[in-house]
């Protein structure tokens, strides 16, 4: 770990000002990801801007029926928040599928969005990695790539975004509220994270100095028919090999509205609206679900060890949609 400065921000403006004045400073919330990265010298912030005292811990119901979640609401509090449990069970399920109770107690909503990939090579400072050291190469391409991307990857980077919560947020079409040196703005969830392209070092479209202040959920929560399915190498405390957030609105036996997002397959939570189009207006059945699964992986590319993810997505999509219809969580 490198020596670093420390500032406890008193308000959002101070946090943003400090960040803007020092390009190598980083915010720290729960620290569950950032501290590990610092210890392994994956990142070396000049300064930590402690944001944990900022007033961003509220979960508020909005007049239009939406829900606004402060960036510092812990993953635990969010997963068990009565409004979330009742109206957005998909989000609750996704959060509880991740990490461990201890980590969820510490982890924040904002930090979860900005957690970094778990790619073995990114995490090993002794090795090349285009995400960590742009231009140094990507050993995962020809290396151990069991956990890597099958969709939207580039020849620069095949890392995946590891979050479960974000997969649900993608499906729920959340928006992210940020405040930066140039003021405040909102970012559609689909535009928040990036594909690697030629700039894998950039995970998100946040601008320098921008602080996530909240995540907003629209009114529609798919409470009756939502399921988060996480497939992983052990029954708890492992990142998703593939996960599926499936949410349906059923009317008179037909799918009135559908949302699908995948985790563990791409550099960002993967939401493909054309797959949702296939579902809309149709009666739910396994053949349809299988077609949707097939459609989602039409451009998928395996790199060897992760080839199985293509088949797994097909099957997991069917299962998640079945579970969503049944209104239940993962068996």
């Amino acid at each position: 770990m490198n020596p670093f400065g420390y500032t406890r921000a008193g308000d959002v403006a101070e946090a943003v000002r400090t960040a803007a004045s020092d390009g190598a400073a980083q915010f720290i919330a729960g620290g569950t990801n950032l501290v590990d990265l610092m210890k392994e010298r994956i990142t070396a912030p000049s300064r930590l801007i402690d944001i944990t005292r900022l007033p961003l811990r509220a979960v508020e119901s909005l007049p239009d029926g939406g829900l606004k979640i402060g960036a510092l609401v812990s993953n635990h509090d969010l997963a068990y928040h009565p409004e979330v449990v009742a109206r957005y069970p998909l989000l609750s399920q996704a959060i509880l599928a991740g990490a461990s109770p201890q980590l969820r107690n510490m982890a924040s909503t904002g930090g979860n969005l900005l957690q970094r990939t778990r790619c073995y090579y990114f995490y090993d400072a002794a090795l090349p990695c285009n995400k960590r050291a742009p231009g140094s190469g990507c050993p995962a391409l020809a290396g151990v790539n069991r956990i890597h991307a099958i969709l939207g990857a580039s020849e620069q980077c095949i890392a995946v975004h590891p979050s479960d919560m974000c997969v649900a947020l993608a499906a729920l079409a959340a928006t992210v509220h940020v405040t930066g040196p140039a003021g405040s703005r909102t970012i559609e969830f689909a535009a928040f994270h990036r594909l690697p392209g030629d700039t894998p070092e950039r995970d998100t479209n946040l601008q320098p100095g921008e602080l996530v202040t909240a995540v907003e959920l629209p009114r529609q929560g798919f409470a009756a028919h939502a399921s988060y399915l996480k497939v992983r190498d052990r029954h708890s405390y492992a990142f998703a090999l593939v996960s599926v957030a499936a949410a349906l609105e059923l009317e008179d036996g037909k799918i009135a509205e559908a949302r699908l997002a995948l985790g563990g397959v791409a550099h960002k939570p993967w939401r493909d609206p054309t797959a949702e189009d296939l579902l809309r207006g149709r009666s739910p059945d396994d053949a349809l679900f299988a077609r949707v699964g097939e459609h989602l992986v039409r451009d998928a590319r395996g790199r060897g060890h992760n080839d199985f993810k293509i088949a797994l997505v097909r099957r997991a999509v069917v299962r998640a949609l079945q579970q969503a219809v049944a209104g239940g969580s993962q068996a």
Binding site: M1, N2, P3, K39, E40, R41, R118, Y120, Y121, Y123, D124, A125, A126, L127, P139, A142, G143, V144, R146, I147, V231, D233, R234, H235, S236, Y237, A238, F239, L241, F308, A311, L312, R315, A316, V318, R319, A331
Partner: protein
């Protein structure tokens, strides 16, 4: 009786309250901290190490490298520890040669740990890589008999009969190759050493080790010190599983730094660096079985190749079990090691047996399927009543009882034969079983004891406590021998100042150190009886130890109504404040060598497989164990539980993943090296069958540290086959293999 009771751990409170000190927790005035720098290439040489930036930081004391490390012992012999395999052990910081990825190349020492860690990141190591090889299949042809030298290794027995001909002629045959990857031990406590430089210059070393004597002797030989200059004190070890059998490089580095700087030094490895130590070797095995249609085995061939490093021949007993477990007239067992550009493997819980039984017990299951026989019935049909390879009887073998009682507890008779024939809702259910076996051993050990007139007993031996409950069972043995409450006994271990004991491994501590404790207590009994006989009107006159019992802090006649005489009264009469004894327990080789002594187990497993997603859930496990006499059912059960959990990990999750391009283990953290979590571990039902054995050692114990894991991986793989009809022969059985 104090033994045989489920006594709580006597050190449990110290452990859960943080009073128990581990190697990296000892301190000393002016302690400084060392952080290890490792290399990321698998083979090549160091061109240059630039430590200027690190050294420029105030508080950084030194960066040790091969360029400035002092010349030390030059013969391999001096670097070879008690359990080293044949070859030339690693000499850290010896020269510019790099022999494996993760090799330590520098030690940065600073006033604080944080500073040392930071400075370590500033050390630039310029290397020149040479081609490396880390694929086992590519070097299988180079497999050879291991160089001699490794303690406990026995080359496979000579072939019996004509296995290959018998195989070709057998009406039913199965033949397959089984493989498992390298597996790192990952004990909870990372390897660590704290070297305290005493005022007189002598060293007191707290090292994470399973044998304080081994660490002490290694340090003395390598640094040219005498045994009175070095004392190793390790009262607790946070899990060893074999990884602490050999002195690891942090010990060497900490001692080097302490001697050069004349300061007390602590070096703790990071979790990532734990993946630069030894591991259970990557092994490929071919098993071929030939049988009559009634299931009688006619031929058994078991060939195994495990990886080793280029500089040492790590070896283990993988195949001999196959000649002992089943009756079969024609057997051929072969074993070789093949060098890769990796660090040398090291014993891991039940070394060899875990590996061999994974293949053998999978193959037996395949044969049962080919014969359409119940897998348990097939095993019983070929049950060996004597050791055919050595032509001698078993000192005891209650494996039949393991099968019977385990099957009953599990409900095995309700299993339907055909694969894919049991389900629960959308899940496929599979029931599988396997046998476990491990050698019961005893090695010479010593103990001393001091009985004080206030009725307290202090017993000590330089054994270790890697977690099995050594403090507890030794206290139980001693308390029972002298009729004392367990609270009156204090057992001390883990200190080279104490009488030497065997290195803690191979499940032989209870038998070896326990026998020494028994012997020293018998010596005390003898002295007390003699003293008691000198008392006026002694009821013990003319009596021997067989006629008396020690009970309730006193001595009395086994029969008759004479009052007990308190131990305190005996000592008072003799005018003694204390009574001291020392004893050595040496195995009775003349007798033991006439028998084969093994612990056995039968493991029954139920799995549920979600076929669409490929996920396997272990639903329940019954492990029935024949381990001789059980000194403490509670700590004994814990040993088996731990073994079964590790077996679940081996079967389904654990995999030290090698990037062959880099020649490096890449998932070197516990986030990505998966071990079972609570959600993966079902109810585990452990039962011990009655087994009496007066050959193995005076206590009749066989040791339980290893047997719990043996066979578990095969039982799970067999259950997966029963559930799905798919035979997975390459561990771990991750979901991609079942899609």
């Amino acid at each position: 009786m104090t033994t045989g009771k489920p006594h709580d751990r006597v050190d449990g409170r110290a452990k859960v309250t943080g009073q128990a000190r581990y190697a990296g927790e000892f301190s000393a005035p002016d302690l400084v901290h060392g952080v290890v720098v490792t290399t990321a290439i698998a083979r090549g040489k160091i061109v240059r190490i630039d430590a200027a930036e690190a050294l420029a930081l105030p508080g950084v004391l030194q960066v040790f490298t091969h360029e400035n490390a002092p010349r030390l012992a030059w013969r391999d012999r001096s670097w070879r520890d008690m359990v080293a395999p044949g070859g030339s052990p690693l000499r850290p910081l010896h020269d510019a040669e790099i022999q494996f990825s993760g090799q330590p190349v520098a030690l940065v020492v600073a006033e604080s740990f944080e500073l040392a860690r930071h400075a370590a990141g500033l050390v630039v190591v310029v290397v020149e890589a040479a081609p490396h090889q880390t694929r086992l299949a590519e070097v299988e042809a180079e497999a050879h008999e291991p160089a001699r030298g490794k303690k406990g290794y026995t080359p496979p027995p000579k072939p019996r009969g004509r296995a290959d001909e018998a195989l070709a002629a057998a009406p039913v045959r199965v033949e397959a190759t089984y493989e498992h990857p390298a597996l790192h031990h990952n004990p909870m406590e990372p390897h660590a050493t704290t070297v305290v430089v005493e005022a007189d210059g002598n060293l007191t070393i707290h090292d994470k080790t399973q044998g304080v004597g081994n660490s002490r002797d290694y340090v003395c030989k390598v640094f040219g010190l005498s045994t009175d200059q070095v004392r190793v004190v390790t009262p607790f070890v946070g899990g060893g599983f074999g990884s602490g059998l050999r002195p690891q490089y942090q010990l060497f580095l900490a001692v080097l730094a302490a001697r050069e700087l004349r300061r007390s030094v602590r070096v703790v490895l990071t979790r990532q660096q734990m993946f630069t130590l030894g591991y259970r070797p990557w092994t490929r095995q071919r098993v071929a079985l030939g049988a009559e249609r009634d299931g009688s085995l006619r031929a058994l061939v078991h060939e195994a190749v495990g990886n080793t490093s280029r500089f040492e021949d790590y070896c283990e007993n993988v195949v001999p079990w196959s000649g002992v477990l089943y009756e079969c007239p024609n057997t051929r067992l072969e074993y070789g090691v093949a060098p890769l550009d990796l660090y040398t493997p090291i014993d891991a819980r039940a070394p060899g047996a875990v590996t061999g039984l994974w293949a053998l017990e999978s193959a037996i299951d395949e044969l049962a399927d080919a014969l359409d026989l119940d897998p348990l019935a097939l095993r019983l049909r070929n049950y060996a009543e004597e050791d055919q390879d050595h032509r001698r009887p078993f000192s005891s073998k209650a494996l039949r009882d393991c099968y019977r009682e385990g099957a009953a507890r599990f409900g095995w008779h309700r299993r339907s034969r055909a694969p894919r024939s049991m389900r629960a809702g959308p899940l496929q259910i599979g029931w599988g079983m396997a046998t476990g076996i491990w050698e019961a051993q005893q090695a010479p050990s010593q103990a001393k004891a001091l009985l004080t007139a206030d009725g307290r007993l202090h017993v000590a031996s330089a054994s270790g406590e890697i977690g099995p409950g050594t403090y507890t069972i030794m206290s139980q043995i001693a308390a029972e021998q002298l009729g004392l409450p367990i609270a009156a006994v204090r057992f001390e271990l883990g200190d080279t100042a104490l009488p030497p004991a065997m290195i803690q491994g191979g499940s032989a501590t209870a038998s070896s150190v326990g026998s020494a404790v028994l012997a020293v207590c018998k010596a005390l009994q003898h002295s007390l009886l003699k003293l008691a006989q000198t008392m006026p009107d002694s009821p013990f006159a003319g009596r021997g130890l067989d006629d008396v019992v020690f009970l309730d802090r006193g001595l009395r006649l086994r029969s008759g109504t004479a009052d007990a005489v308190p131990i305190a009264a005996i000592m008072r009469h003799a005018g003694l404040g204390s009574l001291a004894e020392q004893a050595t327990a040496i195995p009775d080789m003349a007798r033991q060598s006439r028998y084969t002594s093994n612990a056995h187990s039968a493991v029954f497993v139920e799995v549920a497989v979600d076929e669409a997603l490929g996920t396997v859930t272990v639903k329940r496990v019954v492990s029935a164990v024949a381990g001789g006499r059980i000194l403490n059912p509670k700590t004994a059960r814990s040993q088996i539980l731990g073994g079964v959990v590790w077996g679940i990990g081996m079967a389904l999750e654990e995999h030290s993943m090698l990037d062959h391009g880099l020649g490096r283990f890449v998932n070197h953290n516990l986030g990505e090296y998966h071990v079972p979590v609570h959600a993966d571990v079902p109810e585990i039902d452990v039962l011990f069958v009655e087994e009496r054995d007066d050959v193995v050692n005076p206590l009749g114990v066989k040791g339980l540290g290893e047997i719990g894991i043996v066979g578990v991986a095969a039982a799970i793989a067999n259950a997966v086959f029963h559930a799905t009809g798919r035979r997975i022969r390459e561990l771990p059985i991750t979901l991609d293999k079942l899609l």
